[in-house]
Assembly symmetry: C2
């Protein structure tokens, strides 16, 4: 995904989207650009590195971002729960843990980025045909309280930022450990 930096710091109208969708897309674009920047050039060893046994690797976190986006497509666009098959396919990415550690291991960066980009294309294709009203449709959500679609997609990028912050920390810890071992 090539992002035009001249638009990156403007939360404003985006061609092909309703006015409020444009704001959401503006934020999602910026967040994704920072995720891509954080992982640029990482090797398989760096993607698989674990700061402790129960930790998530950077590769696992990238896989998680793609899985979260997919599950929100199902829940909000298709207004349904995932099928047993989808749940099975997404479990490693959503739940991470031991399952995630086994599933996301040994892959080059391009593997994760291709998944992220494919999900994002699907999301934006759908955003482009929905009207802004859709964003304010509510369902029961967490703790039995109402949640609207704008919040649900905000949460998708909010979760990405959370993990991007962690990716930056993992990189720092990894480089300190390598320095330490080299001494």
């Amino acid at each position: 995904m090539v992002l035009d930096r001249s638009q990156l710091f403007l939360i404003d109208e985006k061609e092909g989207f309703g006015p409020t969708f444009s704001h959401l897309v503006s934020m999602m674009n910026y967040v994704r650009s920072t995720t891509l920047e954080a992982v640029e050039g990482l090797t398989i060893e760096e993607l698989d590195f674990l700061i402790h046994d129960g930790a998530n690797s950077i590769g696992m976190l990238l896989a998680h971002m793609a899985a979260v986006e997919r599950i929100y497509q199902i829940v909000t666009f298709e207004k349904r729960d995932p099928t047993a098959e989808e749940e099975e396919a997404l479990a490693a990415g959503l739940d991470l843990g031991e399952k995630g550690k086994a599933a996301f291991n040994g892959f080059p960066l391009e593997h994760y980025l291709a998944d992220l980009e494919a999900e994002r294309e699907d999301t934006y294709r759908k955003f482009g045909i929905l009207s802004d009203d859709w964003l304010f449709e509510q369902t029961d959500w967490w703790w039995g309280e109402p949640g609207n679609n704008y919040f649900k997609w905000f949460h998708v990028f909010e979760d990405e930022i959370n993990h991007r912050g962690q990716i930056r920390m993992i990189k720092k810890i990894h480089s300190l450990q390598k320095e330490h071992l080299a001494k």
Copy 2:
């Protein structure tokens, strides 16, 4: 700050704010609620813990959030650079590092939360008297590209999420170290 969870998952109209400001405030409220949840009940020792020598403690990250909010008030509401005095007062919180480590040490949680709440009150007071048009005003921003006020305030909460993700990781590493030492 007491947040009503019945509104927390709705990005929608908020009393006292313009329609687009309402969306921004909705997001800022949710983010803040998760920050408060992440730090709830932390002791001074937990707030000061460093996962490595050059790391940021949770206390430092909370101080950073308040300092970022203050500098964005100056830059966007007052449309000016900080004075030398303000720069000096905010440097430890903005830049962190050794200066931040020295400045934010030995304080109880309430100290950081009071600062965060005071800045947020100032921000919302001003948001409440601005019209939505203000959000789309542009200035030169990073890398000489344009940035609007909506983006600038998005960045304030985006940075908070980033560090909240790190706070969650620091807590996990700290508890693992304590378990390890207890063995």
